[in-house]
Symmetry: C2
Subunit: 331 residues, 2 copies
Amino acid sequence: MRILLFFYLLLIGLFVGYVYNYQTTDSIEREWSENELTGNMDETYVMVTFQVGIDYWKRSLKGFEDAAEAMNVSVEYRGATQYDVDEEITVLEQVIAKNPAGIAVSTMDPRALNPVIENAVDAGIPVVMFDSDAPESEAYSFLGTDNYNAGVEAANKMAELLNEEGEVGVITQPHQLNHQERTQGFQDTIFVEYPNMKVVSIKDGRGEQMLSKAAAEDIMREYPDIAGIFATEANGGVGVGLATVANNRQDLIKIISFDTGKGTLDMIEDGVISATLAQGTWEMGYWSLQFLFHLQHDIVEQENDSMPLPRFVDTGVTIVTKENVDSYYPQ
Amino acid sequence: MRILLFFYLLLIGLFVGYVYNYQTTDSIEREWSENELTGNMDETYVMVTFQVGIDYWKRSLKGFEDAAEAMNVSVEYRGATQYDVDEEITVLEQVIAKNPAGIAVSTMDPRALNPVIENAVDAGIPVVMFDSDAPESEAYSFLGTDNYNAGVEAANKMAELLNEEGEVGVITQPHQLNHQERTQGFQDTIFVEYPNMKVVSIKDGRGEQMLSKAAAEDIMREYPDIAGIFATEANGGVGVGLATVANNRQDLIKIISFDTGKGTLDMIEDGVISATLAQGTWEMGYWSLQFLFHLQHDIVEQENDSMPLPRFVDTGVTIVTKENVDSYYPQ
């Protein structure tokens, strides 16, 4: 009987303890359940690119995944295996057919995907563009590098490397808008900010190493005092590096390149390329997912019918030099 | 004895029930505690402006508050009561002294706050700029309107209103950068896109109704065929509206203005002003808090030392006309 009473009291004690505990937990839970930034794992957001296998997309995808983890939703990665716009359209159509919670698209063609993007938006699927835009599409936002500003940053870094003095050249792809903008930002900044510097030559490297090497050698021949070359894309930068090394001018000509491919990073390590501009690819992926989540959950201004998201996010560039190059190699 | 046994069994039953319940709750709680986008109410984020009382800030503050609610953190609103940069500096210093979780600042002077912003960042307090930037400050990001693009949108809307034909003018504040950019975007777009339109006059309205009215009347006198006027700020728009009404030209001259003050909205309702550009002020506040939260919680790219946030967010503009003007009156 006394043992029974003891158990009886013990149970009452435990019971009271649990009730107290439960209610505390409950109040925390209530607070959390008001949090709008938690989805569920059935919600799938898809990233669609082209040349899906290249390293360039890895950081964007990591940002996309990190945001998904933070918000408790799922992601998928799809895209054209080749640099083939028809293949990308097909993949995008397949993705839309599965009615995902949202799609982040990078396009190799600023117009070709517009009808498919419109289909997605008409079907109520949120779409944002990242890295390269389709400006006339129905996508809600674009998250990528402001290429003009990137050119400005390149010019400022070049001026620093050359003590604001000397002749400089550019190797670019003059028919592609993003490269035109990078070149323009570079040119304008040198012209306006650095009176003792001059852009003496702008040449087409066609995005190929060997053609860029040849173009750089042309510049070196035509302008023997050339002190710096800005390459607006990665193959060009490596090509210019090959040119300075082949002509034993690597200590005389400062090179600034673009992006953080292995060839570029190695040349920075070796001191052949002085600096490269790393794009905010992780940021593109992270904020793309955030934006898609906000559209899917309708967490947007409620009072009027203004557009629901910022129309453009400049994810910016970071300057990579020998000092910080290590952290840019894939981990 | 049987009663005691009954209670005993009842208690065991309740106990098991509660244990079960508690564990379920616990597992939900665990899932949520992995969610990085939940703060706690002790975390206070502060919005700092000038002329704190004006309506213009209300939507930004609402966005700031909405984001705080979504992420379970607290907000405060502070600022200079007047258009007085010294007062704003003092307020910002007071805010910093309380070591908040983050500060979103709009400045009336692109340079004056820089030392104070640096103090905040040095003290480990995240700072972002919104609405008007301090581009050379240590703030991590700027969220606001791309004013050049806003001018482009105004030009496209003007072209639509005028069937892409006729003489147009601009009333602006030529000494202020944001107004220069709005004017430039308008001018460039008319010039490049609409060969049958021409910007014939750009005048200084000094941000005042009566001076803008006089400037608009000068344009109407000098260019009797003037078909449209773009005012790059709200008082100018109302001033131009007063000018067309006073001269009985309100049916002949299309006016596009800026922002959504009551005077502007009333003139849209009356058909005197054809359209105005609403800035994404809610978006500025909402994403400012998001950015500050991400800095405070270190939810940024971990692999390298790139900048942690996008450097610029263009919150965009929405065109307000008679059709959607109702939703822009304060609720």
